[in-house]
């Protein structure tokens, strides 16, 4: 007798697994303009590349004769696949069953995702829509047997994954509890503006505990979470989220022992963009667009901004120079004068940790007036968060190039120059302990008060000191490597990158400090 009956049974279970939560549950998912997890996986991966892991894991119900009468597949889909030809691990909750709240097999598969990524050293992509545990337990009725006291920490592998491989996540629908924690335990996260909410606890729990009546969107829609740094980016819909993840991965190596891929580059390395000559206004009070500088310097259309909605005085992202990935960090003087806020410092720290973990050289475009000041800034513990960024920069080992575009002041400016940074100054560069506008009023208070016309005296002192901040003496003193025509920025940075590129292989491997979400 052959094994045909069992083989038929395997086939049947595979078919049942593909049915997910059933026709009605899938139709409901679609009626709310959301894809199912299997459709999301298909959208992400190269066609036909999905190699599913544990497809028949699930919860069976047998009759007295030992025959299968019903079968609930695990509500977490997991497997290998390829994104633009490169292998990844992909996983995500199946919201069509139990609202994504983990079933026993679903939980096992979900926490296996990080282990696999670490074991196989390939990027991890998680596409989240689900909630955490239920007081009913994973079985749905009554509590399960509690886990053993010596079980390994569930979160250790989550932390290890972040220290080993690129982790990119998306919130596709409502994400709460454990999935929300894992969503942000990532190097890049994006949420769908049209379908996702991220909540630590949902409206019912919040109302019971806090007496606060809020909808899911009010608690955790994109307007909340793209502005507070919970996620890096917002995208219009699920497909746009997946495009953002693909774009992020295109800049990244597969793991910390590999260098980022180098793409063929059509953009000439000696291209000098004429607009850079007058992008910074001579009038020091007038703001300018740092993103125009970024666009003009790096490979055409290569800038991928991360965290645009929060910590907005700092601009961070990935870009390419001559086809090679670099981390890019600039100040946006149009937002709070480009000053280092608490959330800007947090964003900058995460950016530096990402670059350090994956050995990506860092290019800064500096226009830093200093830490944000005022009562709100003090309430936000700006000095602590800011100093955290400064010390993170000081501990990095990757190569840095810093372009002094305009202002570079105070303790905060130190965050923009890593150890042994290659420093180029534009003619518009100014630097010192603090900007003259603030400093003169304090340092020369008596002299100003004693003058017949205090205002005129203050302006005279400001002008005199501003002239002293000219970058020429800095260049003469070798305080900077070179003073450059702004149009030469791209060629100079490309030459620098060619010099530091041979140093990168020796920097591969685990970072000296852990990467934190």
């Amino acid at each position: 007798m052959s094994w045909k009956p069992e083989v038929d049974e395997i086939k049947r279970r595979r078919e049942l697994a593909l049915a997910q939560g059933g026709v009605d549950a899938v139709a409901k998912q679609h009626s709310q303009n959301r894809l199912t997890i299997r459709e999301r996986v298909d959208e992400l991966l190269d066609e036909g590349s999905f190699e599913e892991l544990g497809p028949v894991a699930g919860t069976p119900v047998y009759n007295e004769a030992g025959e299968l009468v019903s079968y609930d597949p695990a509500n977490f889909i997991l497997g290998f696949g390829k994104v633009n030809g490169r292998r990844v691990i992909v996983g995500g909750e199946d919201f069509t069953m139990r609202g994504g709240s983990p079933s026993p097999a679903g939980l096992r598969k979900s926490v296996y995702a990080e282990d696999l990524a670490v074991q196989y050293k390939v990027p991890l992509v998680r596409l989240h829509e689900g909630s955490g545990g239920s007081v009913g337990g994973t079985g749905g009725k009554g509590s399960n047997l509690p886990g053993p006291v010596n079980a390994p920490s569930r979160f250790r592998s989550v932390a290890q994954a972040m220290a080993t491989v690129p982790v990119a996540t998306a919130a596709m629908g409502a994400v709460a509890g454990l999935p929300a924690g894992r969503l942000v335990a990532s190097h890049f996260s994006v949420m769908s503006k049209s379908t996702a909410q991220i909540i630590t606890a949902g409206p019912a729990v919040v109302e019971r505990a806090m007496g606060e009546k809020k909808t899911k969107d009010e608690l955790g829609g994109w307007k909340v979470h793209t502005k507070n740094g919970t996620v890096d980016n917002g995208a219009d819909d699920e497909r746009a989220c997946i495009e953002e993840i693909k774009r992020f991965l295109s800049y990244m190596p597969d793991h910390i022992n590999q260098l980022a891929p180098v793409l063929a580059c059509d953009d000439p390395i000696d291209r000098c963009d004429a607009s850079l000559l007058d992008v910074v206004p001579r009038d020091r009070r007038v703001a300018f667009e740092m993103r125009k500088v970024i666009k003009a310097v790096f490979d055409e259309d290569s800038f991928f901004e991360m965290g645009k909605g929060y910590g907005r005085s700092q601009i961070t992202g990935l870009a390419r120079l001559n086809g090679q990935t670099v981390g890019v960090w600039g100040n946006d003087c149009k937002f709070l004068a480009g000053s280092m806020t608490a959330d800007g410092a947090h964003k900058a720290r995460r950016f530096m940790e990402l670059c350090e973990a994956f050995t990506l050289p860092i290019v800064t475009l500096v226009d830093e007036p200093g830490f944000m000041i005022g009562s709100q800034a003090e309430k936000e513990a700006t000095i602590r968060h800011g100093t955290s960024a400064v010390l993170t920069a000081a501990m990095t080992t990757v190569p840095w190039a810093a372009v002094m575009v305009r202002r570079s002041f105070g303790v905060a400016q130190a965050a923009h120059y890593g150890p042994e940074a290659y420093v180029l100054a534009w003619p518009s560069a100014e630097s010192g302990p603090l900007p003259v506008e603030g400093g003169v009023a304090v340092a020369f208070r008596r002299e100003i008060e004693a003058a017949p016309n205090p205002d005129a005296k203050r302006r005279e002192l400001e002008e005199m000191l501003a002239a002293k901040q000219s970058p020429f003496p800095r260049a003469e003193a070798l305080s900077v490597h070179d003073l450059i025509d702004p149009r030469e920025t791209r060629p100079e940075l490309c030459k620098w990158l060619a010099r530091v590129q041979p140093l990168l292989p020796d920097l591969l491997g685990p970072s000296a400090f852990a990467i934190r979400p």
């Binding site: 009038d283 007038v286 703001a287 907005r312 003087c333 149009k334 709070l336 004068a337 000053s339």
Partner: protein, 70 residues
């Protein structure tokens, strides 16, 4: 109809257009003063200024609608 929303709070330093003015894409509409910096706002598209919600000297907040271009 395009609403010009403010990226940050601050004060309206210079208002360079009036209701009914025809503006072209890239034209500076008004300048905010934020943390001693002048922050110009440019027209994202050509059109006519249909409604003005700000005046010079106003204190404004993030996400306020400054004006509308139709």
């Amino acid at each position: 109809m395009t609403k010009i929303e403010l990226e940050t709070g601050g004060s309206v330093w210079k208002l360079l257009v009036a209701e009914g003015d025809v503006v072209v894409e890239g034209q500076t509409l008004f300048i905010l003063e934020v943390m001693k910096m002048e922050v110009p706002y440019e027209a994202p598209q050509s059109g006519t200024v249909t409604t003005l919600h700000i005046a010079e000297g106003d204190s404004v907040a993030e996400d306020d609608v400054a004006l509308e271009i139709g």
